[in-house]
């Protein structure tokens, strides 16, 4: 009996050790970048690297925030009415339509990139405007915005809307004052997921970015490819990951992890 108890405890210890081993592996790339970003040119401890990020790379960060903001706004404007129609109105072929709308998620980035850069060149003539890049990001993240909102709407009983309308609210009032606040967590989940993807996207951007526009992840990619390994590049990558991490943590604190179930993040 005693031996069995001991072997069980050993199993537990090994289990937790395995989990921690994997977790350490997950953060190893980040930790390596972090430690390297603190080294200076003469091997000295250098916060100058991070000053450099907000100085010389400030422009790139600004582009990243701008592209992310525009993309999220467009995503939301398109996904809100679409999700409502998908959940609340019956029409034939709904499942097929939903699948067709969420398919962009499964198209490899390089394929979206080459397809868009060629159509922008030869058909749409969008290569020199930032809207080409914004539309590319929007179509890629649209499924991530749509899915959590659809899930949230499905969980919301129709009774609330019926009650509001019985009390004399117009359709518009019902949506903004009853439905919208109640699906708020779903909307925030969509915003978070899309933000993380757009903010860190470099692959599609590499194909379709207009001349003169370099987002921060693209700058990281270009610098790693051409300038080799620099502590300042590591500092930029660390900054990007920290901003994304803070966004995720804030979401976890406010809404918990429930609303991200079944989506991109656990």
């Amino acid at each position: 009996m005693n031996r069995r108890l001991n072997s069980r405890r050993l199993g537990d210890i090994l289990s937790h050790a395995y989990i921690w081993f994997c977790l350490i592996l997950f953060v190893t790339p980040f930790a390596a970048l972090l430690s390297y970003s603190f080294t200076g040119s003469q091997g000295s401890y250098a916060v100058q690297n991070f000053q450099y990020v907000f100085g010389s790379f400030g422009n790139n960060l600004w582009w990243s925030f701008k592209i992310s903001g525009l993309t999220l706004l467009l995503d939301l404007l398109i996904a809100l009415p679409a999700s409502y129609a998908l959940v609340r109105y019956p029409f034939p072929g709904k499942q097929v339509l939903f699948s067709a709308l969420t398919l962009p998620l499964y198209v490899p980035g390089a394929v979206i990139g080459i397809a868009l850069v060629l159509t922008y060149n030869f058909t749409y003539h969008l290569t020199s405007s930032i809207w080409g890049l914004v539309m590319a990001m929007t179509v890629g993240t649209f499924p991530l915005m749509l899915t959590p909102i659809v899930v949230a709407l499905k969980d919301l009983p129709v009774a609330f809307e019926e009650a509001a309308q019985c009390l004399g609210a117009t359709k518009w009032q019902t949506y903004w004052r009853v439905v919208f606040p109640l699906i708020g967590p779903g909307i925030s989940a969509g915003l978070l997921l899309s933000f993380i993807i757009v903010f860190n996207e470099y692959l599609v951007t590499l194909f379709v970015h207009p001349p003169g526009v370099t987002t921060a992840p693209l700058r990281v990619f270009n610098l790693v490819r051409t300038a080799g390994l620099l502590p300042t590049t590591a500092a930029l990558a660390v900054t990007m990951q920290l901003i994304s991490f803070v966004a995720v943590l804030a979401f976890f604190r406010i809404f918990g992890t429930r609303y991200l179930k079944g989506t991109y993040l656990i």
Binding site: I19, P108, F142, R225
Partner: protein
């Protein structure tokens, strides 16, 4: 009321389906003849190259995605099992697991520092008698980076399947005299099969388009990955015919697995 959904349909048609049809048509034209004033020259040459000269690129892509899927399966199952059955600090685990999801670029970039001479892995590599450069530019390091990037997806799929399995089933198996390995093979594995398949296909689908990892961590052989070759041929050398044909092959690879993963993942993805 269907007017509400029209912007969404327009968005996907204009910026996804039409461009995909566009490159499909282009993949049957000779190099950059699509632009020539005398009209495009249609040919099957690009697909002949894909099954001839560039066949090894297709194989390398499948090999990289397949190996990383295998690594994810082997290490993901115990991880998901322990996470679902024994771990109470799950939010902490979620916090850690978010890091790889910020992108393969940062993972590959970070791994380069780890494997660099004087990097974090140097003592370990020395103990094993491997030179840094040997480890830095190699197949295992590419597969390792790809596996880290997709590990959370695998754990998510297996974990969902596992949390639907009643723990008393395992106790019953143990009471009836099954050893742990038997319980795993004959109880757990059959019950979580759909999650395992869905996770494997999802990871494969994501990793088929691998770009940064082979470029930053691989040898010339791993850099044959389709996504990277497509970029080189298309954007750098403007051989539109060939690069769009590569895009079509890559799309077919990703879609074939996605189709099956959606069939198997009912519950895992939607629930």
């Amino acid at each position: 009321m269907l007017a509400l959904i029209i912007p969404a349909i327009l968005l996907t048609i204009l910026f996804l389906y039409y461009p995909l049809v566009f490159i499909f048509r282009m993949s049957f034209t000779l190099t950059d003849s699509f632009l020539s004033p005398s009209g495009p020259i249609f040919t099957l040459e690009n697909y002949r190259a894909m099954t001839g000269r560039y066949l090894s690129n297709v194989w390398v892509t499948i090999k990289l995605a397949g190996l990383s899927t295998l690594v994810n399966l082997i290490f993901g199952f115990p991880f998901a099992y322990i996470l679902v059955r024994k771990v109470r600090y799950r939010d902490l685990v979620r916090g850690f697991m978010v890091f790889p999801m910020f992108g393969a670029l940062y993972v590959a970039f970070g791994m380069r520092f780890v494997l660099l001479p004087g990097g974090m892995a140097t003592p370990l590599l020395n103990a094993l008698g491997i030179a840094n450069t040997q480890a830095l530019y190699s197949l295992p390091s590419v597969v390792f980076a790809m596996s880290i990037f997709t590990f959370p997806f695998m754990v998510m799929n297996i974990g969902t399947a596992l949390s639907n399995v009643d723990p008393t089933l395992e106790e019953a198996a143990a009471c009836l005299g099954a050893r742990p390995l038997q319980t795993f093979w004959r109880v757990l594995l059959p019950l979580t099969r759909s999650g395992l398949i869905a996770g494997a296909l999802m990871v494969f689908g994501w990793n088929v388009g691998t770009f940064a990892e082979p470029l930053l961590l691989g040898t010339i052989n791993e850099q044959k990955s389709l996504a990277w070759t497509l970029y080189q041929r298309g954007v750098v050398q403007t051989d539109y015919g060939l690069s769009t044909a590569m895009g079509v092959v890559l799309l077919i690879l990703a879609f074939a697995v996605t189709y099956f993963s959606l069939r198997y993942s009912h519950g895992a993805l939607v629930e």
